[in-house]
Every structure is written in C-alpha cells, then in structure tokens.
Amino acid sequence: MKLTIKARLIVAFVLLVSIAGTMYYLGTANTETLNSRLGTIIDLNVRRMNLAGKIAEGVQLLTKREKDMILTREADRLDYLVEEFEKNQKILESRTEELRSISDEAGVEIVDDFSNSWESYIKEYKKIKNLAVTINNDSTKVAAALISRSTARENARAAIESINKIVKKNEAALVTANEEADVLYESGKNNMLILLVISVLVAIGVSTWIIVSISSSIAKAKEALKAVSEGNLTYEVDNSSKDEIGELLDFLKNTVEKLKEVIGSVTTAADNIASASQQMSGSSQQMSEGATEQAASAEEVSSSMEEMAANIQQNTDNAQQTEKIALQAAEDIQEGSRSVNQTVDSMKKIAEKITIIGEIARQTNLLALNAAVEAARAGEHGKGFAVVAAEVRRLAERSQLAANEINELSSSSVAIADKSGKLLEQIVPNIQKTARLVQEITAASLEQNAGAEQVNGAIQQLNQVIQQNAASAEEMASGSEELSSQADQLKDTVSFFNIGHQSQFSQSRSNKRKKQHVPVVHLNGNGVPKKATTAKTGLQLELNGHDSMDSDFERF
C-alpha cells in the first residue's frame, strides 16, 4: 500500500463516520415510527378515553343534579339546579359530538348507542323535571323519584356502560399499541446492534491495518535511532514504506550520512588541530627565542643609537666651530683679495717703470752702437773708445734684457696675482656659502640629535613590545599545547561514533600514541617543559602548580 498515514486515517474515519451516519439514520427512523405510534395513542386513544371519562363524569353529575331536583323544594335552588343541569347537558353533548368525530367506525356505533341511551335518559329527565320542578309538590316528587329510580336510572346506566365500552376498547387499543412499540423497539435494537458489530469490526480492521503499518515503520525508526544513539553510524536504515514515517526514515538516513561525514571531518580536523598545535607550539617556542634575540638586538641598537647621538653632538660642535672658522676665513680672504689687488696695482706700476728703463736701455744701446760705429771709423785712434762703446752697448743690452725679463715677470705676476685676486673673490662667496651650509649642518645635526633620541625612545618601546611578544609567544606555546590536548579530547569524544573505519581510526590513534612521547608540561615558570614519567593520554597539563606568570592572575 502506497497510502500515507494521513490518507489511511482519513479512510478509517470516513468509514467510521459513514457507519455512525447509517446508525443515526436507522435510529432516527425507528424513533420516528415510535413517535408516530405514540402520537396516535396520545392523540386518539387517550383523548377518546379522556373524553369518555369526562362524559361519564358528566353523566354522573347530571344524574346527581336530577336527584337533587327531586330532593329539593326551594324554588331558587331548583332554578339553579335546572340551569346547572342544562349547562352541563350542553357540555356533555358537545363532548359526545367531539368523541364521535375522533372515533373509528366501531367507536361511532358505541357513541351512537350512548347517544340513544342518553336521549332516552333526557326524555325521562324532562318528565322528572316537569314533575319535580314545575309542579313541585309531594306527590310529584314521589312520582319523579319513582321515575328516577326506574327508567332514568336504567338509561343512565346504559349510557355509562356505553362509555365504559369505549374506555375498554381504547384500553385494548393502547395495549396493542404498546405491543407494536415493543416489536419496533426490538427490531430497531437488533439493527443497531448489527451496525454496532459491523462498525466495531471495521474499526478494529482499519485500526489494526494502520497500527501494524505505522508500528513496523516506527520499529525500524526506533532500531535506527537506537543504533545512532549508541554511536553506531554504520547502521543501514532499511526503508520500504513511502509514508510519513518512511520519509522520516529517509531523513534519518540522510542525517546519519551527514553525521558520519561530519564526524569524519571532525576527526580529521581534530587530528589536524593536534598536529598544527604541535607545530604552533614549536613555532611559538622559536618565536619566543627570536623575540629574546630581538630584545638583545634592540639593546645593541639602543646603545649604538646613544653612541650615534654622541657622535652627532660632536658633529654639531665641530660644525659650529667650522662655521666660525669659515666666516673668519671669508673675512681673511677678503683681506687677502684686497692685498692682492694692491699688489697687482703695484706690479703694474713697476712694469711701467721697467718699460721706461727698457726704453732707456734701448736708446743707450743705439747710442753705444753709433759710438762704436764712429769709433770704428776713426780707426786706430778710436780703438779705446770702441771698446768703451762696446762695453756700454753690452751693458745697455743686458739692461734691456733684464728690463724685458722683469717686464715679462711682472706681467706674468700681475696676471697671476690678478687671477689669485679673482680666485680669492670667487672663494669668498663659496666660503660664505660653506659657512651657511655648515650652519645648516649644525641645525640638521641638532635635529638628528633629537631624532636619535626619539629613535632611542622608540627602540626602548620596541624592546618592551618585544619582551611582551616573548611572553605572548610563551603563552601561545602553552595555549597550543592546551589546544592539542583539547583536540585529543575531542577525538576521544568523537570516537564514540562508529563511522565504519573505526578500527583504522583507533589503530592510527594507538600508533600515534606509541610514536608520540606525550609530554606533560608543568608550567612552573622556568620555561623548560619537564617530561613526566607517567604519560597516559593526550597532553597532561599540570595547571595546579604555581609559576611566575600566575602572579598576574587572580585565583577564584
């Protein structure tokens, strides 16, 4: 059956409701029959009996009044009685008519009998009335009493008997009706019983069908859930039904699959975390060592910076002195430049004078030559003079040469001095510039000094940070070991679930345990983790011991 539970329940309830509807219909039909019968009894028989009773009562009352008339002599009383009699007679006759109208054929005959008897009685009554009321004396009274005791009584008895007949007849009808009602009740009861049995059977069948189908599925689900709750994720959920519980089993199957995957990945993740935290522990140990080295380096840098600051200070002093010296040099050089210019002027004057001397020497030379020519022409007589002239000429020539040389020298000296002056003049701004630059160097050195101090402060801060880092690295090492133990615990917890390769997993775990020499780290502050002799499972952290870092924390 591919019906869902909902459909089954709907089918069952529809069946039961339809059976109940049928029962209701049948019950209603029976009750209606009974009701109609009861109506008949109440409407006709009881009414007839009631009317008959009242009529009988009226007959009794009227006969009594008739007797009272005979017995009474008082006129008023008689009038009243006559009036009363006639009034009740009318009521009786109307009731008789009513009885006749609701009676069946047999009843009508009986009523006719009653009417005949009654009319006879009324004839007798009229005689009695005439005797007792109208005449009203002792004799008539006796006569009336005679009539009343004889015929009138006979007629009245006949009338009452007729009425009684009617009553008896209706009583018999009532009994019949009662018997019919009993029969109807019996048949209705039987019908209802049959339907009840059918409905009970149907209900039992349908409910058994539903219960069996649901309970088998639920049993499967229970088995699966029990297996999962015991951690067996290898349980294969057998699902053949397609109803809601079948879907539930499908979902359970998916859940188990997912759970298996999750547990698998959690296991591998825990393994990874364990190894990673081992690595992290080593790394943070290295980091701690590195931080210590950094701290030492920072100390060295700090001392170097202090030396540098001292050097910079010395540079500043030197630069200031250099600046003064440069300014002094600039002034001196300006002085020198002026001196050189004066020298150049002097030399130019000397050169002019020397030119004059050269000119004189040249002219002397010419004169000496002329003299020599004259002396030579004079022959032997001019010989001595010729010698003198030659000597004069030679002297003049030497003078001229010397003058020329001096001239050249002074010219070159002038040129050199001029160049020197110009160079000195060029040097002055350079030296002034140098002074300015040295001033800038001084300022820069001062700034450098401040900068070096700042760097020094920064290095001190760096040192603190590095030491904090070292502490953090050590904390991290212990934290990673804690993490490793947590990962092992996680693996233990997760190993509750059997995901199929349980044996492999546990084997790897046991191998790991063999390989790993599980350290028990006592954080006792000396930084060297002691290995405990009793290593059981995972990383055993001795956290009860007191170490230097515990003083930073408060114990609760």
Binding site: N370, R377, R393
Partner: protein, 165 residues
C-alpha cells in the same frame, strides 16, 4: 771713401733681417737712427718707404726687407734705420735702410771671409762680399754699393731733388 780707408777699417756692423744676420763695413755707415716719422712719397716703388728729415737734409729710406725680397712686417721697437753712405756713379749718396734690428760692431779680417755660395742662396750673390762665421751662425757681408747701385737710387735721388725743389 777711399779704397785705402776701406781696407784699413776692418770693423763691421751686424744687423738682422728676418732670421738672417747681415754685416756691413762700418766705413759705409754714417749712423743708426730710431724710426722717426717717414714721409711717404707718391708713385715711388714699393721698397721705398719714403723720406725722413735727418738734421735738415732729406734722406730717402728703403725697406731692406722688401729690397731683399722678404715679406713686409710691421715696425717694432727694435726696428732701426741705418744711414749708409753709398757711392753711385762716383757720387756719394746717403740712403737710409730699414732693418729689423741692429746688433753690434765687430772686428774681422777680410781674409777670414769665406766666399759666398754659388747656388742655393736666397739672395743674389753679386752683392755678397763673403760669409763670416760668428759663433754657430753665418753673417753675410754685404756690398752696400752694389745693393743700392741702381738707377732706382738715382731716380730716387732725382725724386728727392724734385721734392727738395
């Protein structure tokens, strides 16, 4: 003036033209002058620089460089005028020669003169009387009469006369 005088006087005045040293017998030299203002004479040959006033007389001045076919250069402080007394057609004439520099007066025997080279000289050799050694250099002894013994000088003389007139 006379041959006897010439022979007896063995003194020579040396001067320079370009890079060569020349010598002339002092007998032919009257005096040595610095270069005064030289009055140019129109239409005169190129080597005629003009005339100067020598103590009242008009003295024609010849540029010896141009006369010897050398390149003309500007006058320097050492440039001098040597006043020669030359004999032209048995007539004594004074001529100024512009030389680069006058050097000295020296004595030398005629016999010490070497003959001029026959070929390869820069100059015509007929007016070179001979070559004399003066230390490492040669001094060419000039016959002044032959240098200036040309019609040019006569013409010059005439021109000078004309100028005088």
């Amino acid at each position: 003036m006379s041959k006897v005088a010439e022979q007896t006087i063995n003194s020579f005045l040396s001067f320079k033209l370009d890079r060569e040293t020349f010598g002339v017998n002092v007998n032919k030299v009257i005096e040595i002058l610095e270069v005064p203002h030289i009055t140019k004479i129109p239409k005169s040959p190129a080597f005629m620089r003009g005339v100067i006033n020598l103590r009242g007389t008009v003295l024609p001045v010849v540029d010896a460089r141009l006369k010897f076919g050398l390149k003309e250069i500007a006058d320097s402080v050492n440039t001098c005028i040597i006043v020669f007394n030359i004999q032209v057609a048995k007539e004594q004439v004074m001529v100024g020669a512009l030389v680069d520099a006058v050097q000295e007066v020296f004595d030398m025997d005629e016999s010490q003169l070497m003959p001029p080279p026959s070929i390869g000289g820069k100059f015509r050799t007929d007016f070179i009387r001979g070559m004399a050694r003066n230390e490492d250099d040669f001094v060419m002894m000039l016959d002044v009469d032959k240098i200036f013994a040309s019609e040019e000088i006569i013409n010059l003389q005439q021109e000078v006369e004309a100028v005088k007139a």
